[in-house]
């Protein structure tokens, strides 16, 4: 159960957040409800491709960026 798990603190898009220990980047996307959205993911400034998200375990203190395409000229 999530409430029995240890939680870790991360930086998500510049804001502090918590995540169950052992979560992958793919788990994180599911937790925040962004599955299916086309976005770029970075962990500590390194790009993690979609096929590598499930195998990317988030560590305490990691800086995670989720980026999309928005309007711009």
């Amino acid at each position: 159960m999530p409430d029995q798990q240890n939680m870790i603190t991360i930086q998500l898009n510049g804001e502090p957040g918590t995540l169950p220990e052992g979560s992958s980047l793919e788990d994180l996307l599911a937790i925040i409800g962004s599955e299916g959205k086309t976005m770029a993911t970075l962990v500590n400034d390194l790009i993690v491709r979609p096929e590598n998200r499930a195998g990317c375990t988030i560590q305490a203190g990691d800086r995670i960026e989720l980026l999309i395409f928005a309007g711009g000229g």
Partner: protein, 259 residues
């Protein structure tokens, strides 16, 4: 066929559109369709689940015949722009990158030094680099030598609607350039786009003038017509200016008294 060639890409439309400032994704899509554009800019932004409408990738991917040109807006150094370009390529799958580095939000003038440094690196990495630059002929030539696919000098400040304030410098850049010159930023009305094309620009990039118009799809259509007219005029060969009148009708009198 008179098409715009950039790298291995061929475009029949010479109107490039930005996707900022539209009232909705629906209006943006209608506008893109009306314009006939084939190359469209987008910006990177942090995902925010409170604002699902920010995401333009999903609506844009429903449109056939559109190539994305992400920009590096938000970067204030070459290193940041290079990182943004690499992220954008992961997301878009497109080799196009609009290098846009403007450190001062007051005037949004591109930083020529950081832009040059970033463009040089990205060209080596195989990007089709389209730098947004001040209308500086020396910088434009240096960027061409660095391997850029085009140069995109500004007509005037982003979103200002001041038109072709840099017209004289643009003429020099066009004359000296062996790569497409695309006027980016500052255009307010279709006549300015036509004038840019008559001057010999290869394309124009428009965003605000279309997005904030009363009827964006109609304005996009007007810009498309102007770009086409200006291009046709340029290719047809525009007459030279003369300091004096040159008659178009015979000046011999025929109603005067018989001699």
């Amino acid at each position: 066929m008179d098409s715009l060639q950039i790298g291995t890409y061929t475009f029949s439309s010479r109107l490039i559109l930005g996707t900022g400032k539209f009232s909705s994704a629906q209006v943006m899509l209608e506008t893109l369709r009306a314009s006939g554009t084939q190359l469209v800019t987008v910006a990177l932004r942090r995902f925010n689940r409170e604002r699902p409408g920010d995401d333009l990738f999903t609506p844009l991917s429903t449109m056939a015949g559109i190539t994305l040109m992400p920009n590096t807006s938000g970067a204030s150094t070459a290193a940041e722009a290079v990182q943004a370009a690499r992220i954008a390529r992961e997301l878009s799958g497109s080799p196009f990158i609009k290098v846009e580095i403007h450190p001062n939000p007051q005037h949004l003038m591109p930083d020529p030094i950081e832009t040059y440094e970033a463009s040089k690196i990205l060209a080596k990495e195989g990007f089709l680099v389209m730098p947004y630059i001040p209308a500086d002929p020396v910088l434009a030539k240096r960027l061409e030598e660095a391997g850029c696919a085009s140069v995109m000098p500004l007509g005037s400040a982003i979103g200002s609607g001041q038109g072709l304030a840099t017209a004289e410098m643009l003429r020099i850049i066009i004359r000296e350039s062996n790569i497409p010159v695309i006027v980016d930023a500052g255009l307010r009305s279709p006549s300015e786009a036509a004038l840019a094309m008559e001057t010999g620009c290869s394309a124009v990039l428009v965003n605000s003038a279309v997005a904030v118009a009363g009827n964006p799809p109609a304005m996009a259509e007007a810009f498309a017509g102007a770009v086409e007219a200006g291009r046709k005029a340029f290719r047809a060969g525009i007459m030279e200016k003369s300091g004096t009148a040159v008659a178009t009708s015979p000046l011999t009198t025929f109603l005067g008294p018989a001699s």
